[in-house]
């Protein structure tokens, strides 16, 4: 019951800010790209995006993970299984 609620919230509550961002984007003018524009194609952007997702994701979940799967992994290596 609570699990189901959490899944609902996790799935749909996050849509609200995303929609809000999309909404504010509509109102914005399109700016033509120039040398002063940061290109969103190419390795720099790809690398940056991946790094941001990884770092922010890791920062959020690492504490909990370290007590779960990470601990289990090291325990298993030490020959201890739950």
């Amino acid at each position: 019951m609570t699990g189901g609620f959490d899944m609902l919230v996790g799935r749909f509550l996050m849509i609200i800010p995303a929609l809000a961002i999309a909404g504010s984007m509509i109102g914005k003018k399109t700016v033509p790209a120039g040398p002063g524009t940061f290109p969103t194609t190419g390795p720099t952007f790809t690398g940056l995006l991946i790094a941001v997702i990884l770092v922010v994701g890791a920062l959020t979940f690492l504490p909990a993970l370290s007590l779960g799967p990470v601990l289990e992994h090291f325990s298993a290596l030490a020959g201890k299984v739950f």
């Binding site: 524009t37 940061f38 290109p39 770092v55 601990l71 090291f74």
Partner: protein, 683 residues
């Protein structure tokens, strides 16, 4: 009187640091800290750990963390808040030092108010908008206003730092005077334009002191991001408690608070306002007064610069550069006649002819007292000037005017001269014909001299993606030639205030941010419309009020520096945010093993730093977190080194230095602090 410009405050001036230290404690007031949500969380955390320490002291509950640990953690948490306050206070202090200089000159000035034609002596502070006052040589102008009668030379060094007096006169674009400046000669009647407390000087003081500071849109956006991150980390830390309890680890509240504070972006959160203040301060150092932080930010995002040709791109006055004689005339004779015709001509063009003739052909400016001579001044009707000397009738003027003149005397304009004049016109110069009686001797090439190094500067702007547009009243042909020489991207010829306004609106409709400079009242609408409008201090009150920056030196080239400071501000903010978040990775590796290894020794491989003990690990991370704020204050105030490169190149560089560096630096920093703590046997 010391001018604000002359006062160069060093980065850590002892008086400023002392004041800032006191100020940073005063700023601990939760109502002030609450304006910065990230630091507010830290303050609440420090309060919590302090209370925990007191509770432990009194109640001695079982299983509590050691008292010294809770105490030192809470002390360092308090330091984190204090350091952030200190950063802000130092930034403000630099402005305050400048405001102090300004305030000194706002001492009580007596004004001679005109009431029904009679003079009444009143305090300057009692003057209201619309009052008329008389100011004579040696007296201070009691308030901002406009000259309605008379002309005077005014010492404005108190405001501009420029010691040369300026001429102010009624009517036209040079009628504005500023309170606190001194009349050096003559008598003027000034209509006061502002009520007390709203004068330019008052606003300047309020601005440099940071009293009128509001969060800029960019700062608000960044704050939202930082608050978002803080909330995420708050959840991550709070949920860790029950998760750990399930694994039968009892986490102390102190440790969790320490973890939280280390994770939330305190570095950028603490330095954010200091960066903003420092940006305005850096502009002030360049003698540009930004009316809001928003204007500085907009300057950093500018896409199009509208630059007035005269004064910004060219030296301002046309200079004679060449004598081109008629086929039968010797060049020396032409130079000689041109010099004679210009001896009484006090315009910069006229003087440049005299100088050129002297330098190139060794013709000295002669005394023409002997012999019969009359100087003929320039008039709008004849469009010529010159002199009648010893029977010679020497004239110089526009080519068509001289042609008419010689034809009337029975001469003719040689085709070669006409061709030379057309060539000069095509190259962006102005031809000036010289005649002696009915004979045309040749033409003088008057040229708009483009400032040295300006085209390199424009090239740098192009690399940054900023388009430069030259605004000029010249005809398109001349404008095109100068634009080509100066290396601007585009030009607007035969510009009027209306066409200027239309250009700004067109650019803005394309989604671009536009910056411009202006000084006249007819510039005011365009200054108000532009995203960054830099008004010249010599300009009219209307122009100064319409713009969002005032250049105290009235140097239009300053716009380029304004853009650079704006860019630097945005980059500093970006790099420190990156650094702050990248730092978190190392803090995890310090704190997480410390929390769990005792219960689960299997997690030891996570402890890559091999810190002395769990307590020392947490403490080192907290100390590093606090100290890094202090270490970064100089960077926040000075701004990151600015390089005129494209966005992608700049970003790649910053990511490498502050992103990768931000991941590595704290590993070293925390380990060093841990070793120091262990060596001092604190842990």
């Amino acid at each position: 009187m010391a001018s604000p410009k002359a006062k160069q405050v060093s980065l850590f001036d002892p008086t400023i640091v002392r004041q800032a230290a006191v100020e940073s404690l005063k700023k601990l007031d939760p109502r002030l800290v609450a304006r910065n949500p990230v630091m507010f969380v830290v303050e609440v955390g420090s309060l919590l750990t302090t209370i925990l320490w007191l509770r432990d002291r009194i109640l001695h509950p079982a299983g509590a963390a050691p008292g010294w640990f809770t105490l030192t953690v809470s002390i360092w948490l308090w330091f984190t808040v204090v350091f952030a306050n200190f950063a802000e206070a130092v930034a403000e202090g630099r402005g305050k030092a400048q405001a102090e200089t300004l305030r000194r000159m706002r001492r009580e000035i007596k004004a001679r108010k005109l009431v029904g034609g009679r003079e009444v002596s009143v305090d300057a502070s009692a003057l209201r908008k619309g009052d008329m006052v008389v100011v004579e040589a040696g007296q201070m102008i009691p308030g901002d206003g406009e000259i309605v009668e008379g002309i005077a030379s005014v010492d404005e060094s108190a405001i501009t730092g420029e010691s040369a007096p300026v001429i102010r006169e009624s009517g036209g674009d040079r009628s504005a005077v500023t309170g606190g400046t001194k009349v050096l000669s003559d008598r003027i009647v000034v209509r006061i334009g502002v009520d007390p407390g709203e004068s330019f000087l008052d606003r300047m003081i309020a601005l440099v002191e940071g009293a009128a500071r509001q969060k800029t849109p960019n700062e608000i956006a960044l704050h939202i991001l930082l608050v978002g991150l803080t909330i995420v980390f708050l959840f991550a830390c709070v949920t860790l408690v029950p998760i750990a309890r399930y694994s039968s680890i009892d986490l102390s509240a102190t440790a969790i608070v320490a973890l939280l504070v280390c994770l939330i972006p305190t570095t950028i959160g603490g330095l954010l306002s200091a960066i903003g203040i420092a940006g305005m301060d850096r502009l002030l150092r360049k003698n540009v007064l930004a009316m809001s932080g928003r204007a500085v930010e907009a300057a950093g995002d500018v896409d199009t610069l509208l630059l007035d040709k005269t004064g910004t791109i060219t030296l301002g006055n046309r200079m004679a550069t060449e004598f081109i004689p008629s086929p039968t005339v010797k060049v020396e004779d032409l130079a000689d006649a041109a010099q004679l015709a210009s001896l009484a001509d006090e315009t910069p063009e006229g003087r440049s002819i005299v100088v050129l003739a002297k330098e190139k052909y060794g013709l000295r400016g002669r005394q023409v007292d002997h012999g019969e001579h009359t100087f003929i001044p320039f008039t709008a009707q004849t469009r010529m000037s010159g002199c009648d000397i010893n029977g010679r009738v020497i004239r110089k003027g526009a080519v068509d005017a001289i042609a008419k003149h010689v034809i009337a005397l029975g001469g003719a304009l040689p085709a070669e001269v006409e061709a030379a004049a057309a060539r000069i016109g095509d190259s962006g110069g102005t031809p000036l014909a010289v005649s002696d009686g009915p004979r045309v001797l040749g033409v003088v090439h008057l040229k708009d001299v483009v400032k040295g190094g300006i085209s390199e500067r424009f090239a740098r702007f192009r690399a940054m993606g900023i388009r430069t547009v030259m605004i000029t009243g010249d005809n398109p042909r001349t404008a095109a030639a100068i634009a080509r020489e100066a290396g601007v991207d585009d030009f607007l010829a035969e510009a009027t205030p209306e066409t200027k306004m239309r250009l700004i609106k067109e650019e803005q409709a394309k989604g671009k941010l536009v910056a411009m400079t202006g000084d006249g009242t007819n510039d005011a609408p365009a200054l108000a419309q532009a995203d960054v409008g830099v008004a010249m201090n010599t300009g009219t009150q209307a122009a100064k009020e319409a713009g969002n920056m005032v250049d105290l030196d009235s140097n239009p080239t300053k716009l380029l520096e304004v853009v650079e400071v704006g860019k630097q501000l945005l980059m500093t903010r970006g790099t420190l945010t990156t650094f702050s978040i990248a730092n978190d990775v190392a803090k995890y590796f310090a704190i997480l093993p410390a929390l769990f290894v005792a219960a689960y020794p299997e997690l030891a491989p996570l402890d890559v730093m091999h810190l002395a003990s769990p307590y020392s690990a947490i403490l080192s991370a907290v100390i590093f977190n606090a100290i890094i704020i202090v270490l970064l204050i100089p960077l926040a105030l000075r701004g990151v080194k600015y390089r005129p490169l494209g966005a992608a190149a700049v970003l790649r560089r910053s990511l490498l230095v502050y992103g990768v560096g931000g991941v590595i630096a704290p590993f070293a920093g925390i380990k060093l602090i841990d070793m120091a703590l262990a060596a001092a046997r604190i842990v």
